[in-house]
Amino acid sequence: MTLLTALARALAAETGRAQPIRTVRHVHLCDRPLVLIPLQLAGEACAPLAAMVGDDRDKPRMLTVYEPRDRTQRFDFAADLADVVLGYIDSYTTADPPSEGPYPDAPQLLVPNDGGVSFTRLLSRSTRFRRTEGEYAVRHTVPLLGRWLNFYSERCEAPASALLLSMTAVLADHWATGQSATEDASLASLLGWIDPPPGMTGAAAARAAEDPVRCPPAGPATDPSFDNEVLAVRIAAIRTARASGDGAALHRAQLAMEAALRTQLEPTWELMWRAVGLLRVLPPGGHVQDRWQADRRAFTGHVRWLREGGAPAPRRDGAVPAARKLAILERDAQRLAVQRAFDDPLVLAEYRLTGEAFAGVVVDAQPDRLDTSGKRAKLRPRITVATGDEVVAEPGVKLVSSTRPKQNAVVVAVTDDGPDTRVVLELEGGMGHSLVPPQGSVPAVGETVTYTTLRDDFQPVPTFPEIADTPWTHGGPPSAYVPKDEDATEEWS
């Protein structure tokens, strides 16, 4: 929570309408994302009940498990889901992976909330080790689906990745509502604040969205009253029909259950596409494409790994991969914070309030200033910035500007000037090699600039030992992970 966001929440509460807290979109959004809304049976670790999935708003595909506790039906569900998900992924990999670099685009999965991400991870865990022949054989697409879902849910842990997105998380990152974060976890309520129906305030729309009959929860958990009053009856009808051997009655009962579940899924399906539309209107931030390129590289790498017959990811990471993953996550989180600040003046403003950045107008500039104290003259222009922001940087500190990230600005002097503060900066770099700076490389008088202590420097990930050299402190080299019989035959009850 930052002061700006807290203030925006207060404004939202007053106006009854969500307030923007970003000026650009900080995530990539595919032209044709795959929306996946899973539902699961209450009380079970991962018992799929139904799903609505597809990349076309007008053509959702609905999958239903008529007997959610039946193992065979669960794997049938996984196979049906695989048809849709793998078909979608395949449409991005019609050619072989490029010999160098990533595919031009990558498939993107959108789920309603963090629960959807967890479901994806658990479904992957219960499918990716299955065998396609012998006892307990499943359709060949099932373990492949599991491996893709694992790839997506793992990438989702990376803060900069947009391959698998939780819609409530993305929306809450771009808008502040006049309710609490707890309430923002409901997609319908959040969208009520952001995009209320005509003639209704966001606050009223959000309250109305709390009625589970009007707005069923966005999954994976279903509404308990729906379970008790509708679903239980439908499942019982199916069991009775099956026991009696009446094929027509069974078919009718199945249709009735599917219709009931459709009422729980369709409203969320509409909300998801409405949310996509709202996000698409926002212009993407400057670094969004860079981050998407990293996603495309990761995706292409996984395609290669699968085509080369690589093994599925183990249940748990070994010491070396886990340490490496953590180091990358930490580095990326830091870079992401800086990139977002540079891409978005509203994010940068948060640093201005804490004194880590200041914005002002250039009131004096000496673009041709040379430093002649050494053997050779060096180009060291100086500018003076007048700012109303609080400046905590002291002389000698190196700053950068969000618009000229390759140019260092060393603080020379900070002086009070009435309500303003004047900061003299000496510039270095980003001006070519001659002693005359190219046009535009030095901020001109009258230009509005922002300088910050944040830096988007490349930080190499520290080197870790090879897996074979895992030190004894971390259990020594682990034996290579080979999927075992017990992985393939594990219970899923």
């Binding site: 929570m1 930052t2 002061l3 700006l4 966001t5 807290a6 203030l7 925006a8 929440r9 207060a10 404004l11 509460a13 007053e14 923007p20 000026t23 049976l41 209450a42 009380g43 079970e44 670790a45 991962c46 658990l122 865990r125 219960s126 006049g178 309710q179 609490s180 974060a181 707890t182 309430e183 709390e210 279903t222 308990p224 009253s225 379970d227 008790n228 679903l231 239980a232 249940r315 748990r316 003046p345 509203l346 403003a349 201005r352 309030l353 922001d389 594990e490 219970e491 899923w492 009850s493």
Partner: protein
């Protein structure tokens, strides 16, 4: 009957009293500043019914699928004198148990009072054969909450070995590859800590382990797995929070003598008192709403409605970022340049800057 008990009974009205359980105590402990909840729980009022009748039905319920699954798992673990549990304790926790006796204290005939049942629990738990392990199912425990004894009917097994008791809790959420949903584990740990406190109250400080045993299904199966859970931290939290709950007598002192949440029904089963009157009665007791209540308290929607316009309703992080100012209106007035009282000058200056920056950028 002591006067406090009489007052509480009047508050409850003709409804059957609802006993505390670890869930209600941990909910109370997450918000010890809420006098409304403390008083209604002490009186044993049916908050769920009251919330529904006044037009603020609780936003949570339990799916029968979850209940069935939970009961089935528990029954399976306790089957045949808790045979599965015993082998778990032996094999996974390497407890040296040759044999163990299983005794269900929940099996009582007739309408015994809580005091009688509690006394029996105490007698049985304090006179066990120390050489033999004993598992006591459904003990009736008691804990001091707001200066009064609250009875707890926990769904737990107190496992006694070598003169020391372990709390064993059976939960039906899965442990997958050694990991479970952190929120569920945290809730279970807090509940176990409540049981440890209550058992210590009964048996003495050193007679109950601060390591409890959590039994859950493993991976996607229904095979149980036992995990030791160290609840020392939770014990400190629960103890501190319980000590912050106001004394029930003090809370009663602030309420009118004739206050009651009675929902006595007419011949058609409809409460005689109008909903608005009941709501007004509830509102007489001050609450302390926080968004966390939305998942733990049946009355949350009523209190949220009341808290409309406060920064607390936006969540603790927001309120803190806004310098603890109570009302949204005040925050925005300060941000627009209203003269601040001396203690909020610093916050006001920050708010004006933030509002200025926001206005300039949007």
């Amino acid at each position: 009957m002591d006067p406090t008990e009489a007052r509480l009974q009047k508050l409850r009205g003709r409804a059957m009293p609802r006993n505390h359980n670890a869930r209600t105590i941990s909910a109370l402990a997450t918000n010890p500043g809420c006098g409304r909840r403390a008083l209604m729980d002490a009186a044993g009022a049916d908050k769920q019914k009251l919330a529904a009748y006044t037009g603020y039905p609780a936003p949570f319920g339990q799916s029968q699928f979850a209940i069935v699954r939970g009961n089935a798992f528990e029954a399976q673990v306790k089957e045949n004198g808790a045979a599965q549990l015993l082998s778990l304790l032996r094999e996974q926790l390497r407890l040296d148990i040759t044999e163990a006796h299983y005794s269900d204290l929940g099996d009582v005939g007739g309408n015994e009072t809580s005091e009688v049942r509690h006394a029996r629990t105490k007698r049985l738990l304090t006179t066990v054969d120390e050489k033999q392990g004993t598992m006591f199912d459904h003990p009736l425990l008691r804990l001091r909450v707001g200066g009064r004894h609250a009875y707890l009917e926990p769904d737990l097994i107190a496992f006694q070995l070598h003169g020391k008791c372990h709390v064993v809790e059976i939960k039906s959420f899965a442990v997958i590859d050694g990991q479970a949903d952190p929120a569920k584990v945290a809730a279970a740990a807090i509940q176990s800590a409540v049981y440890v406190l209550a058992l210590r109250d009964l048996l003495g400080e050193h007679k109950v382990h601060d390591e409890t045993i959590l039994v859950c299904p493993e991976n996607f199966s229904s095979k149980p797995v036992a995990t030791p859970v160290d609840v020392r931290r939770q014990l400190t939290v629960v103890k501190r929070q319980l000590s912050r709950i106001a004394r029930i007598e003090d809370l009663l002192g602030c309420c009118p003598d004739d206050l009651t949440f009675d929902l006595e029904a007419d011949e058609n089963g409809i409460p005689r008192r109008p909903a608005r009157e009941v709501e007004a009665a509830i509102r007489q007791v001050p609450a302390n709403y926080a968004p966390e209540c939305l998942s733990t308290c049946e009355l949350c929607y009523l209190c949220r409605d009341e808290a409309h316009g406060t920064t607390a309703a936006l969540g603790k992080p927001v309120r803190e970022e806004l310098g603890g100012i109570e009302y949204v209106r005040t925050v925005l007035d300060l941000a627009r340049g209203a003269a601040p009282p001396p203690e909020t000058e610093e916050v006001a200056a920050q708010l004006i800057r933030a509002a200025g920056i926001r206005a300039a950028l949007l």
